[in-house]
């Protein structure tokens, strides 16, 4: 009972879908080009995952060898782009959001421009990104940071604005100055919102990285899917998509853990 039963329930639907899919493919109802069978995808995925050459102690560590395949390289490339892009976008959005939340003047100055820019999806910037930053990583960083910027910004503003005035009064009453109020009271009080923004921002960065890799680079999960399409390798396209799904799930689980730890003081954090 309990965990085992819950685990069983959670795999029932995926297993049924995979079996049906396999059955349809084997029965020959669709050509493998349109929909390769799950086993074909799995075989392809394993090949994509595996190192090119057998292990050679002279060439480096075992971990390096394990990660020397095409898939680990693509995944790491994409994750690095997400980290850099998110670092830039979130790194700019956080201080601006804190200032806009805390200072009405800053809010009034920046809000109109930001509200105008916010509805433009990062993808619409692709032509300009190539024009401004050329090919390779820079336009990708630009697009990803754009995608991460607004969720972090909007949530940070909302977080600072929702800080209960009673904490500010209590802190002032105990002798806190303006800077202390800002970094010891406002920032931690706004942290639940900020972390929600970070989580959403990373999610958007993950979407944008795939799109960005389809335009101007030669590695990464997005690039690999596009490449596989050029060769009509449907099984590899699906293997790449599955990898994207797994990476996204991994990032989100990691963020959920991080949130739970950072917000261990928070009433809602532990149910």
């Amino acid at each position: 009972m309990g965990r085992a039963a819950a685990l069983a329930r959670s795999v029932v639907v995926p297993v049924v879908i995979l079996l049906a899919w396999e059955g349809i493919s084997r029965a020959g109802w669709v050509t493998p080009l349109i929909l390769p069978s799950p086993t074909a995808v799995a075989v392809r995925w394993w090949a994509y995952l595996s190192p090119y050459a057998p292990f050679d102690p002279a060439a480096g560590s075992r971990l390096g060898w394990l990660l020397s395949g095409e898939l680990p390289h693509d995944a790491l490339t994409s994750l690095t782009r997400i980290l850099v892009g998110f670092g830039i976008g979130g790194g700019l959005a956080l201080p601006l959001g804190l200032l806009m939340g805390a200072r009405p003047l800053v809010y009034e100055l920046f809000n109109p421009v930001l509200q105008l820019l916010r509805p433009i999806p990062p993808i619409a910037y692709i032509p300009l990104a190539i024009l401004w930053f050329g090919l390779g990583n820079p336009p990708a960083y630009f697009l990803i940071s754009l995608g991460a910027f607004f969720p972090v910004l909007m949530n940070t503003i909302a977080g600072v604005r929702s800080v209960d005035a009673i904490y500010l009064r209590a802190a002032r009453n105990l002798g806190a100055g303006e800077w202390t109020l800002f970094h010891r009271i406002m920032v931690p009080a706004a942290m639940p919102y900020i972390l929600t923004g970070v989580r959403v921002g990373i999610g958007v960065a993950f979407i944008v990285v795939i799109v960005a890799e389809m335009i101007a680079v030669n590695a990464g999960l997005g690039y690999r899917i596009l490449e596989a399409r050029e060769y009509f390798w449907s099984d590899k396209v699906i293997a790449g998509m599955a990898t994207i799904g797994l990476c996204g799930l991994g990032i989100d689980l990691f963020m959920a853990r991080l949130n739970a730890w950072l917000l261990r003081w928070h009433r809602g954090a532990e149910g």
């Binding site: 009673i166 904490y167 009064r169 209590a170 802190a171 002032r172 009453n173 105990l174 002798g175 806190a176 100055g177 202390t180 009271i185 931690p188 009080a189 942290m191 261990r264 003081w265 928070h266 009433r267």
Partner: protein, 271 residues
């Protein structure tokens, strides 16, 4: 400030013709008008009255959170212009910083004063022991009961050893038994430290149980209706005939104002 003409020490709180006008939804509300009160050093004074009588308004004025719009208000011999740790406030909602542990909450005011680590630790240790909080040192406020939270809030203001405590219905949200034990603890602490306490409540019995003098306030505009001295020796017995005689007197006074409050509510002109 000049000393009073009779040569005695200046009172801890001195209010002369204090007025406060709010604008609530475009309507002007006179919360306080011509409010006069002297609170002696080391005295325990309760402000008592129905909702809207301006008792919290006066407390917030003394705290410096919301300055009067008329009259003269001095605390500890100085005109009130801003919040300060010499007039430490205990809030009904506790206002503990939820992201700080009990220990960090209590140490916050000392940190603001730049007290060295060893001194902070010593004060925190002493207060944790005194208020029966020793086992809760590393807990976050969300894990504490209401009574425990208010103990931490009291410890937090006692840590900075202010000459005056301002208490805004601090026990209003607690159950009757917890309230009584905290009242007794507060009286014990007051007897030890002889701090001036200005205590806002709408509890008639609470005010007579605690105070040297009960200031019954009028409903809107808030003025002093009558000051009832309580000369019963402590610990006071709420079941004694003397206590009940006072309670009857104070109840009559408060209920007259409560009737005006209700009439106002029926007309829909209260907030």
């Amino acid at each position: 400030m000049s000393a009073p003409s009779n040569g005695e020490a200046a009172p801890a709180i001195r209010a002369r013709g204090v007025g406060k006008v709010f604008t609530l939804g475009g309507r002007e509300v006179v919360a306080l008008d011509g409010f006069n009160l002297d609170v002696a050093e080391g005295e325990f004074v309760c402000l008592l009255g129905p909702s809207g009588c301006g008792k919290s308004t006066f407390l917030n004025a003394v705290a410096g959170f919301s300055l009067p719009t008329a009259g003269e208000l001095t605390a500890l011999g100085r005109p009130v212009t801003a919040p300060g740790p010499d007039r430490a406030m205990v809030f009904q909602e506790y206002a503990l910083f939820p992201w700080m542990t009990v220990e960090r909450n209590i140490a916050f005011g000392l940190e603001m004063q730049g007290a060295p680590e060893a001194r902070r630790r010593e004060v925190v240790d002493r207060l944790l022991a005194k208020l029966g909080l020793a086992d809760f040192r590393d807990r976050f406020p969300k894990d504490l009961s209401g009574g425990m939270r208010q103990r931490v809030a009291i410890a937090r203001v006692l840590a900075i050893d202010p000459p005056m405590l301002l208490m805004d219905e601090p026990f209003g949200a607690l159950d009757a038994l917890t309230r009584r034990s905290l009242q007794d603890e507060l009286l014990r602490l007051w007897a030890e430290t002889r701090k001036t306490i200005l205590f806002v409540t709408h509890g008639i019995e609470e005010s007579i149980y605690l105070a040297d003098r009960v200031v019954v306030m009028t409903y809107r505009p808030g003025t002093v209706k009558r000051i009832v001295p309580v000369s019963l020796p402590r610990p006071r017995d709420p079941a004694s005939p003397e206590f009940n005689a006072l309670k009857r007197e104070v109840t009559t006074l408060v209920m007259e104002e409560q009737a005006r409050h209700q009439a106002d509510e029926a007309r829909g002109t209260s907030d």
